[in-house]
Symmetry: C2
Subunit: 361 residues, 2 copies
């Protein structure tokens, strides 16, 4: 059975379809669009697994595919230009459709290409990693990296649909599955305490890739993301709480060198740091901090900084975050388990402590 | 006296300020924005003339300027990246403001850079050519060129304000002034017959750069553009009528090689071709065609194809226009003087005739 969640954004509203076998969805891909041309954008890892299945939905259309090398290193302006040139050379018109089949890199690149090709064409997200399914495929944030920062060049461009097939998770490496779980835990922590409790009861089934548990986790996550995006599309206020753990996380990724840790792993450790800081300023009890760490640990996600990660290096990167409004580092902190707020109001030395200290439990 | 026209687009509404001496406007530039940093983007021709004046408005801000070489050849992804890197290197945040000081190339480049820098920052258009003042600075169309087509990569990103100083027209070359007049005549033809008649009476004062006449022409043009944009921001229907003469015009520019003719000159000849086709299918009388040609001729704008411009070359380019929905060439034709519609419904041989034939008068 396919579950459908709507992202309510007026004339930019769209459905998120979640189910097993949706890749062969046919109508899901075409209705209500009637594309003049179709580009399926994917990468070398995903193409042999799922490209043929997707193409089968577009037999009656002029359908092309472009297979990129795998990896974050290719999420840049050069690859963007390559995609745009590919479409121009094949005479793609404004009525064209781009289908982004892959993880966060393909989704971000494909979405940005769709946003600026002839000032905007339609695109569909077909996320194949858990992280993309619960987070990056929903909400219209698209971007490429610049050598001076991640996601520094991009656009808000909502997809026409998100189509998630839980079957694609059967081929996902374990480490990437866990990285996706970090983002699910995030929704529990910042706005959905029942989801947090549900995860405490179901984490083992989730790690065991039980199909029903996966679908439930994805749909509960998408519901949270859809609500937040609907109320603050351009991240002017509440949407910023979705960055819980991310300011720390991006700094960890930068300090370690991209590719060393997965995004979700860095976010997990970042959430621990933010949780410890929330405790240090009196918003959480020690028992609550232990609960958070314990759930992350059960998902085999990192909760202590790796050897040699320098506190100063982290703080330097965090100060240059694009979300800062002045010289203070803007952070998302917990008010309780299931509630978060964006703030710059905390003592700086407690931030340094929260970064330095290891696990409390 | 400064005249202000509002472009009504909900929370993306903005003012167009038109007057003499507005460059020294101070408050016009800052209120209601409080930018964290300011980038003034301009070119080598404009910088010595007006950069100091603009900078004087931002003495209390962290203000940088970036001076590009002049010309359409630089409106590409490479220059875009250069602008984005410039801002990243100087730590520009999401609260930054870009001021695009120049003609259409600077406006299109600056607007697109603002649209994708950290997924969108504010920008102000300060158009210094008549063409930019009456057309390209208003409406949020931003883009760069690709070797396979003009404006193929871009975004809809509305400015926070348009500030037009009629004094900047004193340094504008004659040929560029006339090219701008072509776009003013366009508004008269497609939706504002009183403006067309006003132009018939005032064309000599306009060419003589009478300050009051210029201001009136700019403000009547902006009023038309603002109304069209307000009712169809993303060019889903009525905004397409603004392309009157442009499908022909772009083809003429491409066929002659960019830079041979100015955009406004190509549009003038394109409007003649569209007018002749409108006559050929019975929408206009011969007297009306003569009136159109006569006004364009008084503005010293081209109304006959140059030697050696091949009809086939033009048709080939027109067929690849991004506005086409199928294999038929979509054109804007006149229903009467002051009224236009988008159509593919005309006999193909009459299109060929309209391109081939010279002036009727």
């Amino acid at each position: 059975m396919i579950e459908t969640i709507r992202v309510e954004l007026g004339n930019r509203s769209y459905p998120i379809h979640i189910g097993s076998g949706t890749l062969a969805g046919g109508d899901l891909f075409l209705a209500p669009l009637e594309p003049t041309e179709v580009l399926i954008l994917t990468n070398e890892t995903i193409a042999p697994l799922y490209l043929a299945q997707i193409r089968a939905n577009f037999t009656k259309k002029s359908c092309h595919n472009l297979i990129l090398p795998d990896g974050e290193a290719h999420k840049n302006l050069e690859t963007l230009e390559h995609i745009l040139t590919f479409m121009l050379e094949r005479g793609f018109k404004r009525g064209a459709l781009l289908v982004a089949l892959g993880g966060g890199v393909i989704g971000d690149l494909g979405g940005f290409a769709a946003s600026c090709y002839q000032r905007g064409i339609s695109y569909i997200q077909v996320p194949t990693t858990l992280l993309a399914q619960v987070d990056s495929s929903v909400g219209g944030k698209t971007a490429v990296n610049h050598r001076l920062g991640k996601n520094m060049i991009g656009a808000f461009h909502q997809p026409s649909a998100v189509i998630t097939d839980t079957k694609t998770l059967t081929t996902l490496p374990d480490r990437e599955l866990r990285a996706g779980i970090a983002e699910i835990i995030k929704y529990g922590l910042i706005r959905d305490f029942p989801l947090f409790e549900w995860l405490e009861s179901n984490i083992d089934n989730l790690l065991g890739r039980d199909s029903y548990t996966l679908k439930t986790a994805i749909s509960l996550s998408c519901k949270n993301k859809a609500e937040v995006v609907a109320s603050d599309e351009k991240e002017e206020n509440i949407r910023a709480t979705l960055n819980f753990g991310h300011t720390f996380g991006h700094a960890i990724e930068t300090a370690l060198g991209y590719g060393t840790w997965l995004h979700g792993e860095a976010v997990a450790l970042g959430m621990c740091m933010a949780t410890r800081l929330s405790y240090a300023i009196g918003s959480l009890t020690m028992e609550e901090v232990v609960r958070v760490e314990s759930l992350l640990r059960r998902a085999d996600l990192p909760i202590v900084p790796p050897e040699g990660l320098s506190e100063d290096a982290l703080l330097t990167v965090m100060k240059s975050d694009k979300k800062n409004v002045d010289d203070r580092i803007r952070l998302v902190l917990l008010e309780s388990l299931g509630s978060a707020r964006v703030t710059t109001d905390y003592p700086h030395e407690k931030l340094a402590d929260a970064i330095k200290n290891g696990s409390v439990s």
